[in-house]
């Protein structure tokens, strides 16, 4: 079984994928990461590496929606990620083995690949009742997260729950749930916030990691700037209607049928950041506002408590319908993020980040 290792170039060639196509694919990834073409050669050579980096995917207090979202990845498609780009060795929802055989895989990776493997975490980590609210193989999520994340090269927290506890942590947080960076403080972590995470962004982070052996630049919540640096409202396809004062005022009304602005129906786009309007979902098919529903701000910190009630209009937005106000709203609501992007500029976004000294904490509002 342990024959000479095959590289991606060879395995792609076997499937009739030329180097030209590989280069095109890497080029697409660079565009997603807002990286200049001069990184192309490095990216191509990185994804063609001989030994594939090992990845394990942990599921704690989750709904498996973030795993499902990863299965919807189109560029690269999920089979390429799982079989060719990485060695995806532990992921309960799709792995072949169960029980002791599954646990043995995890033990082996943590021991043999110590400091080298990537771990993706999906779901919150309950800290109450000695960890009894989530156990796998008899071990608590707390214990597993500490062991698996602490020994990894980096932790990718996907979805709102792994980011900051998400829905599970929302009031009254019955299980003492936390996100990964609070449950396992001091680790190297990137937060792919969202409910679920967008697989296009996560795939881009994986490619970035393969290329630079590091994470992309992060904001104060440890979210990558390339995906979480811009206000939704500023990228929204319905923005012109907002500026012109054309609003949906009742579901199914003329404005709703014509695709007008959903601000009055409770849309949180003006105070949320995410590249959702640009990257969209399911192979660039659509996104929630195009489907006629307001944004719920799912990539924002503690969004369940802070963005709800979801159908209530954002209060005190100054002078809506006036062209100049929208930028101010965004700046006011998410000031730190915007300031960060402006200050550091594009150069900072494309360079691998250094880890902030302290784990990011929620500062905007308290539940």
């Amino acid at each position: 079984m342990l024959a000479p290792e095959s590289d991606l170039g060879t395995s792609l060639a076997r499937r009739g994928i030329t180097r030209r196509q590989l280069v095109k694919y890497c080029s697409g990834m660079l565009a997603m990461l807002a990286m200049p073409e001069r990184y192309l050669a490095q990216t191509v050579s990185a994804v063609s590496k001989t030994k594939k980096p090992v990845l394990v995917w942990m599921q704690f207090q989750d709904c498996t929606g973030c795993s499902e979202s990863m299965l919807r990845s189109s560029h690269p498609d999920v089979a390429d990620v799982v079989l060719d780009l990485l060695s995806w060795e532990y992921h309960e929802v799709i792995m072949a083995g169960a029980g002791s055989h599954a646990n043995a895989v995890l033990d082996r990776v943590v021991k043999d690949e110590k400091g080298k493997y990537l771990v993706v975490v999906e779901g919150a980590i309950p800290t109450a009742e000695g960890g009894a609210y989530c156990t796998i193989g008899g071990h608590s999520a707390m214990e597993l997260a500490e062991r698996v994340c602490r020994n990894a090269a980096a932790t990718i927290a996907v979805g709102a729950c792994a980011f900051d506890g998400g829905l599970v942590r929302s009031h009254p947080n019955p299980t003492g749930a936390l996100g990964v960076q609070e449950a396992v403080p001091g680790i190297k972590v990137i937060n792919m916030a969202g409910c679920p995470h967008n697989p296009a962004n996560t795939a881009a982070v994986l490619v970035h990691y393969l290329t630079f052996n590091d994470l992309p630049a992060l904001d104060q919540y440890n979210r990558p700037l390339f995906a979480y640096g811009r206000v939704i409202h500023d990228q929204c396809e319905r923005r012109a209607h907002y500026d012109a004062g054309r609003f949906v005022t009742e579901w199914g009304d003329e404005g709703h049928r014509k695709g007008w602005c959903l601000y009055k129906m409770g849309c949180k786009g003006p105070e949320a950041t995410f590249n959702c309007p640009v990257v969209q979902w399911n192979d660039h098919t659509s996104w929630p506002i195009r489907a006629g529903h307001g944004c719920i701000g799912c990539a924002s910190p503690r969004f369940w408590d802070h963005m709800s009630p979801f159908y209530e209009r954002l209060p005190n937005v100054p002078g809506f319908g006036v062209e100049t106000s929208a930028g101010e709203i965004g700046l006011g609501m998410t000031g730190a993020v915007i300031a960060g992007v402006t200050a550091h500029g594009l150069i900072k976004m494309i360079k691998p980040a250094s880890k902030p000294d302290a784990p990011a904490t929620e500062t905007r509002k308290e539940a």
Partner: protein, 570 residues
């Protein structure tokens, strides 16, 4: 001998643990335990019932949207809101495509590796695989070159020594007995199905912005505004064309890949037509109305109960006969842990009394699961695709009867083979085929309504909370891919006082009740042979045949009616 433990049970949604007692190579007793709890119903208290669906939807991201639908139905039922015809159709389309996509993913990605030996596929002759493929289906990807390419790809992964997801499989287990050529066929279709599931489910993005967790439901209708003349309407003639293409693709995959594969693999595992029987009582709430959601006679899948595998009799469903027990679950009841409670009167407080993690075994004679134990009229029931088809067959629903009789004829088998591990797999495939035809009909209806200017998608009558009564209670049912799902809601003033979901996997996977009656999983595992206790493949086969969804199954309500004030947004 010592108890056998399978934890984690992989290739399912959520955290499931099976403990089993083996005697003479067979299972003599089994315990099913959910090992994760979040408390979403508790979190829902005090919130706006109009947005409950957004929260409840996150109960599960595999069967995404099913809880959204049950939730809006519960609130609509409480407030007395009828939804417009177009909203009913769009909901059917979203839920129906979820069912088809979910069943395909279950068969290929969650279940197939219990029957298909990936390592054996390397020994296959691709030319022989090609001729098998062409003998069972018109699917165009069937050439020798195609299968050789798949084989090379698998070989590349194996040769690299980095087997990825396949590293931990039970390859070479004696219970695998497909020929290498059929294994190769199945591996090829595993990869095809990976591509299919993400392509087809774009239908949720078209109608709901994204999948998982489409964002398109409303209490009173849907956000999919319709207009025949507006380019930015969510549903317009261009979108209809897109829906048609997506549905056409699904129909092709189900007819040409999924169904032929099931029919090719099942006869090679005949012994599993008599293993994994379960409790033999079947419950279906019924769903997918062609005219009016309030009229069960209009349902594609009928509402009813079949007891004791008796296909001659269908009993009506009485909602008041549903109770939940916690005698073996980590909760406490104020009136004593031995008494069941109706969901509308339900009460729960989590109280963990199990071993402190890390632990080796659960205390199966006491409390051992985060799942509760639902009973109908005191009896354990199986829910899911098999239950839907058994009820539909017994009720004489012509489409269901014809589909089942057709498959039984091909397998040359009596209806009793349905009550088995393979019966559940067959039922899932059959209902996918029935559903995929119906999707076409719904797109036609939307198209026709659009052409006739019938564009109402929302009923505004009770959107404004000022129009609500001081208090209101209701329930909403849905036949989700995994079975009968019910949400119960109690609204006081403008907010939720109490909320509860009784979920398919809770019916099937719950621990035993105070009378000691086993649920469907525990009953189905009895007498299952286990050839190699270190590699309990047979346990996975039967448990996976139910398509477990544990995140759904674990839930809690709070009996204290605790309320709190929501934090203000800014």
């Amino acid at each position: 001998m010592a108890r056998l433990v399978v934890d984690p049970v992989s290739r399912i949604e959520g955290h499931l643990r099976i403990e089993a007692q083996l005697d003479g190579g067979k299972i003599s007793d089994a315990w099913s335990a959910g090992t994760m709890f979040r408390g979403i119903e508790l979190i829902l208290q005090g919130r706006d019932p109009r947005e409950a669906w957004i929260w409840a939807q996150r109960i599960c991201g595999v069967c995404t949207m099913v809880h959204a639908l049950a939730s809006v139905r519960a609130v609509e039922n409480a407030l007395g809101i009828d939804v417009p015809e177009n909203a009913r159709i769009v909901r059917n389309l979203i839920a129906g495509s979820q069912m088809v996509q979910d069943h395909v993913v279950h068969f290929y990605h969650l279940h197939a590796l219990d029957w298909v030996d990936v390592a054996s596929a390397l020994k296959a002759d691709p030319a022989k695989t090609s001729s098998i493929a062409q003998s069972i289906s018109d699917y165009e990807k069937s050439s020798t070159t195609y299968f050789r390419g798949i084989q090379q790809r698998v070989k590349g992964v194996v040769d690299s020594g980095q087997l990825s997801l396949f590293a931990s499989g039970y390859w070479g287990h004696p219970a695998y007995h497909l020929p290498p050529e059929v294994n190769l066929l199945a591996v090829a279709h595993y990869l095809e199905a990976l591509a299919f599931q993400k392509d087809f489910i774009r239908i949720h993005a078209v109608l709901g912005g994204k999948n998982p967790h489409p964002q398109t439901f409303l209490v009173g209708g849907m956000t999919t505004a319709m207009d025949p003349n507006e380019p930015f309407a969510v549903i317009n003639p261009e979108v209809i064309t897109r829906l048609r293409e997506l549905v056409k693709g699904a129909r092709k995959f189900v007819d040409q890949v999924y169904i032929p594969d099931v029919l090719a693999i099942a006869p090679l595992y005949k012994e599993w037509f008599s293993l994994g029987e379960g409790v033999g009582n079947f419950l279906s709430y019924g769903d997918y109305s062609s005219t009016n959601e309030k009229d069960p006679a209009s349902f594609l899948f009928p509402r009813g109960i079949v007891m004791g595998r008796d296909l001659t009799k269908v009993e009506p469903v009485d909602p008041s006969k549903i109770t939940e027990f916690i005698s073996h679950s980590w909760y406490e009841y104020s009136g004593g842990d031995e008494n069941g409670k109706h969901p509308s009167q339900g009460e729960t407080s989590p109280k963990y009394t199990g071993p402190k993690p890390p632990y080796e075994y659960l205390e199966v004679d006491k409390k051992y699961s985060w799942l509760k134990t639902p009973r109908y009229n005191g009896k354990p029931m199986e829910v899911g695709p098999l239950a839907r088809l058994v009820v539909g067959y017994a009720a004489g629903q012509p489409e269901i009867k014809a589909a089942i009789d057709g498959v039984l004829k091909k397998l040359n088998a009596p209806p009793s083979v349905l009550f088995s591990t393979l019966g559940r797999i067959a039922a899932r495939a059959i209902e996918s085929q029935i559903m995929v035809k119906r999707l076409d009909t719904w797109v036609d209806q939307l198209d026709s309504n659009l052409a006739h200017g019938k564009v109402t998608i929302f009923n505004p009558v009770h959107w404004n909370p000022d129009t609500w009564p001081a208090s209101a209670t209701g329930f909403g049912w849905h036949e989700a891919p995994r079975g009968s799902l019910g949400h119960w809601v109690d609204i006081q003033g403008r907010s939720i006082k109490n909320y509860q979901a009784v979920v398919p996997t809770t019916w099937n996977a719950g621990p035993r009740d105070p009378m000691g009656q086993r649920g469907a999983y525990e009953a189905a595992l009895l007498n299952t042979p286990v050839a190699d206790p270190d590699r309990p493949l047979e346990i996975l086969r039967t448990v996976h045949s139910f398509d477990p969804c544990i995140a759904c199954a674990v839930h809690v309500i709070d009996g204290n009616g605790r309320k709190y004030t929501l934090p203000r947004v800014v």
